[in-house]
Amino acid sequence: MRILIALIAGALFGTGLLVSGMTDTTKVQGWLDLFGAWDPTLAFVMGGAILPMLIAWRMTNRRQPIAGGQFPSPPRPELDRRLIIGSALFGMGWGLVGLCPGPAMASLSYGGLGGLLFILAMITGMFIAPGLGAQLDRAANPT
């Protein structure tokens, strides 16, 4: 059940990324290019994606997940250096070539060698991130 639900969710996510044009790096970089030929598409994608999620979060108030278990706990309020530095690094990579994790995976079948290389580099980054995160914490709280 959980596996079928995850498969359907991934399929919807991938189809949405393909249909919206978000696997096209020129559209993403065009949206980030505030000082050039700005492309507004990404704002419509973000807005369109947030609408069903607004309703879904509202529905978590009075039921359980269909496949059992618990809904995610409420979001933490605190802003720490991991969130800020990590998001800044992510944004730099995103702007550099116009790919983030979802579209990178969704376009694997037509992204060519470069797309595959991006995913391998991203996986490498994900592998070393816990160590780097721990160093960041030590730099924040020297003992």
Binding site: L18, S20, D24, G47, L54, S109, Y110, F127, A129
Partner: protein, 142 residues
Amino acid sequence: MDASWVMGLLGGLLIGLGGAVYLLGNGRVMGASGILGGLVDGSARSESAERLAFIVGLIGMPLLMRPLIAPQSETHLTENLLLVVVAGLLVGVGTRIANGCTSGHGVCGISRFSLRGIVATLIYIAAGALTVLALRHILGVI
């Protein structure tokens, strides 16, 4: 003005629907970097199978659907493979340290009015816009 904003809105609704299915079905936040990253660093543990199923759907559906609905779509990724590798490393490290990307912090975080999601989204958009400004308009690299 072409129809790309209509397709953007339509695609966005499908993305949000996927997130709603994942949340209401499995009780999980649909974040691409978290789902993949948990498999990579071994923190996923018992949820490996459903994460793999999500990724199979995410990669497999565009493979099947592209010839039918968007045969002309391309990624137009830069041919500078050094840039690709540097960007991939930054995205991998950054999303895992920040615990989220465009789908997790962006779509799922903003829609539950999470301060962390909103701040993360503002920061990665600002960093992305500054990167494009610097490398496209000042250095002329991308």
